[in-house]
């Protein structure tokens, strides 16, 4: 059984080129950042090691991420973060233009980092606010750092005064003010970033949340330490604290690659859920169980499954509703699934987040293949059954219409004609009043005619009694009871029902009453009709000798078929305290 995703799925197994690229990137960034921070290695090897580690790991995470076509830009942004991070440390060379450069583009790494993390795991920046924010952060971060640099002097930063520096000396006080404003703004912007991340996490669901959570938590921690750093800069604190804050930031940034690793592992675990899917579908699968299993495996509770009905060339839902309306496709990912012959089998409507997990979806559909096939069979049988049921109902309704038509024809046609003959014979009898022989012959003809009329009326009543059409169940059953010669209590509501329902209930009641009169040796009979829970219930009971067999009377047997065709039920049992109880139920409503 081969089940394929109609849309092609990219292959996920070939990781080796990515590994090669990652190693190359690690070596390149390691050498570059090592060179940039070289002086630091001399007097503070620990800080040096941490910072090189940060640059390398972030860059490697970026390289790996860039291997996924959907995450290429995000990955490149992360590589840029690693590079800018290393660049922010070139001031350690304390000579030439390097310290000035570090001062100006130093904050660039978190602008790039914010851009990367705000978009992850989407392919593009999802909201205009996010784009606006990144631009604002870039302008304020890099623009502000430039303003700070040009209004300051290298010696105020603890640098030798002979390094290359562009700027105007406005005095240390003015520079301090500019720095304070800049850091405050930066702190505020970073707080906004925290809020945006929280909103993003709230909006994410299913696999989207699985992916986004570690990155968001990491970003939050980096941002928080950034805010701490800004505060440290604003409030005069010992040099030692300042350095500690820097190390803290480095450690926080180090969690970025870790978070991507965690995400990878979690996504991998989701794929392992496919194995559970296979296990859960080993038993006879129904459409809903397949859907439930897919929902679990793909972590998408909103997932919908539709099966293809080849005979009708359309998709149907589990409840045999026709093809989902086009508006339900909106904002969903419609996946058409084909069977081994390439013919349509089913369709999934899923969370579009799953587009980034084609491999997982492919695996889940492959694992559920046999179950999907069985599910479709199940669905087809259900549809056919429903069709048969509907057709049985139509047959019952058509039969009823036909019987009523014939009854009316007999009543209005044949009966009137026979009555006309009777009147004519009466007239003839008047004419031959004085001839006893002729009178006797005519009287004989009138008797035969009366019998024929009686037969005709019995026939019409058996087809469909006019009193049922005209006045409903109560009067119709009353007429039957009247002819029995057994005291009968009737409890029938005056309400009218569908002709099919009235007819079926009437004939069961009439048959049951007739059986009582013929076989039960009863002294009393009871007929009740009740309506509750969208169902009409008839009960006919007697106090006779009982022992009636369900289905024994062929009359009731035929009526049982009619009831079942209308979704009803018939039950014949012994009545408590002697006698027989016939119960019929029909949905009405």
């Amino acid at each position: 059984m081969a089940v394929t995703l109609a849309a092609d799925a990219p292959r996920h197994s070939a990781l080796s080129p990515v590994v090669r690229r990652a190693i190359a990137g690690a070596v390149a960034v390691g050498l570059l950042s090592g060179a940039m921070m070289a002086p630091l290695a001399g007097y503070d090897p620990l800080t040096f090691g941490v910072n090189v580690g940060v640059a390398v790991s972030v860059a490697v995470a970026g390289v790996v991420l860039a291997g996924d076509p959907d995450q290429r830009t995000t990955g490149r942004l992360l590589v840029l973060v690693g590079a800018l991070w290393a660049l922010s440390w070139v001031n350690e060379w304390r000579s030439g233009p390097l310290p000035f450069l570090s001062e100006v583009i130093g904050p660039g790494w978190y602008v790039a980092g914010a851009a990367a993390l705000l978009r992850y795991p989407q392919r593009t920046m999802s909201r205009r606010t996010a784009t606006t924010y990144v631009v604002a952060l870039g302008v304020w971060g890099c623009g502000g750092s430039t303003v700070c640099a040009v209004t300051g002097r290298p010696e105020w930063e603890g640098l030798p005064s002979d390094v290359f520096w562009i700027g105007w000396d406005l005095g240390e006080k003015a520079h301090g003010l500019v720095s304070a404003v800049w850091f405050s703004g930066l702190g505020l912007l970073l707080m906004v970033l925290l809020v945006m991340l929280a909103v993003k996490l709230r909006r994410a669901h299913g696999l989207g949340r699985v992916e986004a959570l570690p990155a968001v938590v990491t970003t939050a921690s980096v941002t928080l330490t950034g805010i701490v750093f800004a505060v440290v800069h604003l409030v005069p604190l010992p040099e030692r604290t300042h350095e500690l804050a820097l190390v803290l930031i480095a450690v926080a940034v180090l969690t970025i690659p870790v978070s991507f690793v965690v995400t990878a592992v979690r996504t991998h675990m989701a794929r392992a859920a496919v194995a559970d899917l296979v296990l859960s579908l080993t038993e006879a699968p129904t459409a809903s169980s397949v859907r439930g299993a897919l929902r679990t495996a793909l972590r998408d509770p909103s997932l919908e499954l539709y099966f293809w009905l080849a005979a009708e060339r359309r998709y149907v839902t589990e409840d045999n509703q026709p093809d989902p309306a086009p508006e339900t496709h909106e904002g969903r990912w419609a996946i058409e699934i084909a069977d081994a012959h390439g013919d349509p089998l089913a369709m999934l409507l899923t969370d579009p987040v799953l587009r980034r997990h084609r491999g997982l979806v492919s695996a889940a559909i492959g694992a559920g293949g046999l179950a999907l096939s069985n599910g479709r069979l199940h669905q087809q049988v259900r549809c056919q059954l429903e069709e048969v049921r509907a057709s049985r109902q139509r047959i019952v309704a058509a039969t009823l219409r036909e019987r009523r038509r014939i009854e009316r024809d007999l009543h209005d046609g044949a009966q009137q004609s026979l009555l006309a003959v009777s009147a004519t014979l009466s007239a003839a009898r008047v004419h031959v009043d004085d001839q006893p022989a002729a009178t006797a012959v005519i009287a004989r003809a009138q008797e035969d005619l009366a019998r024929a009329l009686g037969d005709l009326r019995d026939l019409a009543r058996g087809l469909h009694p006019a009193v049922l059409t005209d006045q409903g169940l109560g009067p119709a059953l009353e007429r039957v009871a009247e002819g029995l010669g057994i005291p009968t209590e009737l409890d029938v509501p005056e309400a009218r029902f569908d002709p099919e329902v009235e007819s079926a209930i009437y004939f069961v009641g009439a048959e049951a009453l007739t059986n009582i009169a013929r076989h039960a040796h009863a002294n009393r009979a009871w007929v009740s009709v009740t309506v509750a829970d969208d169902a009409i219930r008839l009960r006919v009971e007697d106090d006779g000798r009982g022992g009636a067999q369900p289905g024994a009377g062929s009359g009731l047997r035929g009526l049982e078929d009619r009831l079942r065709a209308l979704g009803g039920d018939l039950d014949v049992s012994d009545r408590a305290g002697g006698g027989t109880s016939v119960r019929a139920m029909l949905p009405c409503g």
């Binding site: 009316r408 004609s417 009777s422 007239a427 109560g474 009247e482």
Partner: protein, 222 residues
């Protein structure tokens, strides 16, 4: 007697006309539609209008009852006799509610014996009430089965049946060969036992008797 006929079956209408004319009645006209009957009655002023209860074969409704109602309103002096194939008591009681005298409900089967038909025609012509004996007999039989008539003596049951048929006190006396006073006594005791209000003036006592026969006793409906 001058009679107007309404029946949508042409065959039956013609046969009935033949029968009525054979027994010496005058048929002023026979029509198939209710509106035509109203015009015919306006023009020819018959003593009795005979009409079917169901006039359109496509629908089973009270069209005949509607025509009867209009006729009763516009020509109170014309007797109304409904000839029907429905031996149904509810049509009878509804018809009798249209007006309190000169009205009758007979089954078409009565054409086999012209005497009952002519008797009913005469009774509605003079403002009495006529209800088909078969319908009443069926009700009485049914109530007898249920035991609802056990409190009445056989003679009282006969009296009740004749009242339901629309007989006058004189008619009951003739039918049972009883004197007027004896009939009155039987009627009083029958109505007393059934807790019905007696009234000799119009068909109210017919309705009361019919309603009792139809509703009381074993058939309890909601």
């Amino acid at each position: 007697m001058r009679i107007a006929l309404l029946d949508d079956s042409g065959l039956f209408r013609a046969a009935l006309r033949l029968l009525l004319e054979t027994v010496g009645q005058t048929v002023v006209g026979d029509v198939a539609r209710g509106d035509d009957l109203l015009r015919l009655v306006e023009r020819d002023r018959p003593d009795v209008a005979v009409l079917d209860i169901c006039l359109t074969s496509a629908r089973r409704d009270d069209d005949g009852l509607r025509v009867a109602g209009e006729l009763a309103a516009s020509r109170p002096d014309v007797g109304l006799l409904v000839l029907s194939t429905y031996d149904d008591i509810s049509y009878t009681t509804r018809l009798l509610q249209i007006r309190s005298s000169g009205i009758g409900y007979l089954l078409k089967d009565r054409v086999e014996a012209p005497s009952a038909l002519v008797d009913a025609l005469h009774r509605v012509a003079v403002g009495q009430t006529a209800v088909d004996a078969d319908i009443v007999a069926r009700l009485v039989r049914h109530q007898r089965t249920s035991g609802a008539l056990d409190s009445l003596s056989p003679r009282e049951q006969e009296v009740l049946r004749l009242i339901a048929e629309g007989r006058s006190n004189v008619g009951i006396g003739e039918a049972l060969s009883l004197s007027a006073r004896t009939v009155e006594a039987h009627i009083a005791s029958t109505f007393g036992k059934l807790q019905l209000t007696n009234s000799d003036q119009d068909n109210r006592r017919v309705l009361a008797a019919l309603t009792w026969l139809q509703a009381s006793g074993n058939a309890t409906r909601h």
